[in-house]
Subunit: 356 residues, 2 copies
C-alpha cells in the first residue's frame, strides 16, 4: 500500500552545474521525504557526498538508494567538511530547527523537509540565525516544488491564464498506514499537529499562487475523528486564510485516504481567478488509471486537460543550487519559506478542536 | 452560452399518482428554475393546471414550455381554485416568503425555488404560518434534489459506503451572464446575498449528507472581486459550518464560471467519511466531453467512476406529491427545509466582506 512518506518523485536530469561544483550532505533520515529531496538536488547536478543519522538501520536503507554516499561517523564530520556547501535533512519535525541552527552556525546552507519547524520560538531563532550566519534555511514544500502540475499552475498564473487569483483551495488527503509510521509521528509535540505538518504544503501554495507576502489565518480547526488509539493525532484539519493580496485561501488536510485508492492521496488544488480557473489532480486522476500530473484549465477561450507528467520538471532544485552559489533567491525567498512556516504554526495554535 | 438560470433537468416519467389526482399551479416566474420544478412534478404524475405572473411576457414564455397550462387573470384565481393542491413559485427571492404566506393562508402547500426567504423575520413568519395552516413550505434545493449524483451520493452514504461522514465540501461556481439577468438579481435586498442565494444549495447538502438537524456557521465571508458595475453583487462567498453530528462543512460559491467552460458551472461535492470518500462532478466532467452525472467513490474496496446520468432519477418529486396527499415528510422535513434557510441567512448576516 503506497503511502506518502515514501513518495519520492524522480525527474529528468537537468544539471545546472558541473560535477563537483555543488556538494551537499545529509543529516537526519527520520522522514522518507529525504529521498525526494536528494533526487531533486542530484538531478539538478548536485553531488551527494555523505550521510549521517544516529540510527544505522536508516543509514543502511539510505545507502541502498544512494550507493556512492559516504557514511559519516557523526554529525560533526559533516558540519566541518569544507566541501559540503549545503546540508539536507529530514529530522523529526520538532528537531528540524535545532539541526538548522547547527548547520548554519557551521557556515552551510540548510534544506529541510517540511514543516521546517513547529513553534514560533523556533521560528524566531531560525530567523535570527539566518541573519547572523547569512545562510539559507530552505524548505522542501514538496506538494508545490516537487509536483509538475503545481509548477505548471504557477507558470499559467504568471502568464495571466486565469486573471487575478481570487482563491486557492487545496485538498491534501494522505494515507495513514499507521503500522509504517514511527512513534514520533503520533506525538503532537514532535510532528507539530496536522495544520503545521501536512498543512504547511497548503499554506505555502496559498501564499505562492496568490503572490502574497503575508496572510491572516481567519479560521482553523482540527479533530481526531476516528483514531482513538492515537490520541495526539489530528486526523482532520482545515483552515481559511486571507492574504495581503486580498485573495482567500482554504485548505483541508486529513489522514483518511482509503485502501482502495490507487495512490497515497488524491491531492487537489483549485485556483480561482477573475478570468478562469485551474484544477490540479496532482498524483492521480480519480477513477481513471494513467498516473499523475493532471491539470485542468478553463478560461474564456478553453477548457483543457493537460497531462504534464514528465513535461514540466522541477526547476526549484537547480534554482536552489544556483541560489546557494550566487546568494540569490530565485528558487524561493527566505521570507516566503518562513512566512509559510509561521502561518502553519499559527493555524495550528489557534485551531478549534472539533473532534472527539 | 448556457447559464444556470435556464438549467432545468428532465428525468424519466415516474408517476406516483393517477392523472388528476394531484393538481398544482404556478405563481411567480421571476427565476427560470420554475421550469425544473414543473418538470420534476409533472414527471412524477402531477398535473400543472394554471399559471399567473404579473408580467405577460414571462407567462408567454412559460406557456411555450407548457402549452396546456391555463393563464390565470390574477393570483386570487389560483389561490381560490379548489382543485389546485400546491402552488409552485419562483418569485423574486425576497418576495418568496410573502407569496408562501398567501398560499398557505389559502389552504395550499407551497413549493418555492431556493433560497426560500432572505431574512430571519421572514423565517419566523413562515414557521408560524406553517404551524397555523398545517401546510408545507417546501424548497427546490435543486443542486441536491434535482441532480442524480446528489441523490446517488445520499444512497451510498445511507448504505455505509464511506462510513461516518466527517466533512462535506461543496464548490458551487455559476456563470454570471449578466446581460441575461433581471435587475433584482443585482440588488442585495432582493436576491439576499450570495451565501443566501446559491449558498443555500450548499448548506442544505451539508445538513443532508451529514444527517444533521442543526449547525453553527463558524466562519463566512463574501466579496465583490471583479464586478464594480454591480456594487451589490457578491461574486464570491465561502463559509465553514460545524454540524450537530460533529461533522464539518465548507463551501465556496462564486459567479466566475468562464465562457470557455462547457456548461454553466463545474459543481462539485466532496464528502469525506471515516471509510472512504465521494466526489460528485454534477454537471460536467472537467476537461472531458460526456455530459453530466459523474460520481466517484473510493473506499477500502474500490475506486470507481459512476456515470449515473439517467439511471437514478429524482425521487424527491414523487415523494413530495405523496407527502402532500398523505401529510407525511418523506421528500424533506419542514424542519430541514427551514434549518437550511436559517443557516444561509445567518451565514450571509455574519459574513465578513473581503472585497473590494
Amino acid at each position: 500500500m503506497i503511502n506518502g512518506q515514501f513518495y519520492a518523485p524522480e525527474g529528468k536530469p537537468a544539471p545546472v552545474v558541473e560535477p563537483g561544483e555543488f556538494v551537499f550532505s545529509v543529516i537526519g533520515l527520520d522522514h522518507g521525504h529525504i529521498v525526494g529531496m536528494c533526487n531533486g538536488l542530484t538531478e539538478a547536478g548536485a553531488v551527494l557526498k555523505s550521510v549521517y543519522d544516529p540510527d544505522p538501520a536508516k543509514v543502511d536503507a539510505f545507502c541502498k538508494a544512494y550507493p556512492h554516499v559516504k557514511r559519516a561517523a557523526n554529525e560533526e564530520e559533516l558540519l566541518s567538511d569544507p566541501e559540503t556547501l549545503l546540508i539536507a535533512g529530514a529530522a523529526v519535525t520538532s528537531e528540524r530547527c535545532a539541526l538548522g541552527l547547527r548547520v548554519m552556525a557551521a557556515g552551510k546552507d540548510y534544506f529541510t523537509d517540511k514543516a521546517p519547524l513547529t513553534t514560533l520560538e523556533q521560528l524566531a531563532a531560525a530567523k535570527e540565525a539566518v541573519k547572523q550566519a547569512g545562510k539559507k534555511y530552505m524548505v522542501y514544500y514538496s506538494e508545490r516544488i516537487h509536483a509538475e502540475t503545481a509548477v505548471f499552475a504557477g507558470q499559467l498564473i504568471e502568464q495571466g491564464a486565469i486573471g487575478k487569483v481570487i482563491q486557492v483551495l487545496g485538498l491534501g488527503p494522505h494515507r495513514l498506514s499507521a503500522e509504517t509510521r514511527p512513534e514520533w509521528f503520533f506525538q503532537k509535540e514532535q510532528y507539530g499537529g496536522i495544520l503545521c505538518d501536512i498543512g504547511s504544503h497548503q499554506i505555502e501554495q496559498i501564499l505562492f499562487y496568490t503572490g502574497a507576502k503575508d496572510a491572516t489565518v481567519t479560521h482553523s480547526q482540527i479533530g481526531n475523528f476516528n483514531h482513538p488509539e492515537f490520541p495526539e493525532l489530528d486526523d482532520f484539519g482545515d483552515a481559511s486564510l486571507l492574504t495581503d493580496t486580498g485573495a482567500a485561501g482554504y485548505f483541508r488536510v486529513d489522514w483518511f485516504t482509503p485502501d482502495g485508492l490507487q495512490t497515497w492521496g488524491d491531492g487537489r488544488s483549485f485556483i480561482l481567478g477573475t478570468e478562469g480557473f485551474i484544477e490540479q489532480r496532482k498524483y492521480m486522476n480519480l477513477g481513471t488509471p494513467g498516473g499523475e500530473g493532471h491539470l485542468f484549465l478553463a478560461n474564456g477561450k478553453e477548457e483543457t486537460h493537460y497531462n504534464v507528467s514528465g513535461k514540466v520538471g522541477f526547476p526549484f532544485f537547480g534554482q536552489l543550487i544556483l541560489d546557494c552559489l550566487n546568494r540569490t533567491e530565485n528558487a524561493m525567498t527566505q521570507e516566503h519559506a518562513f512566512k509559510a512556516a509561521e502561518l502553519c504554526v499559527k493555524a495550528q495554535l489557534q485551531a478549534e478542536v472539533i473532534a472527539p
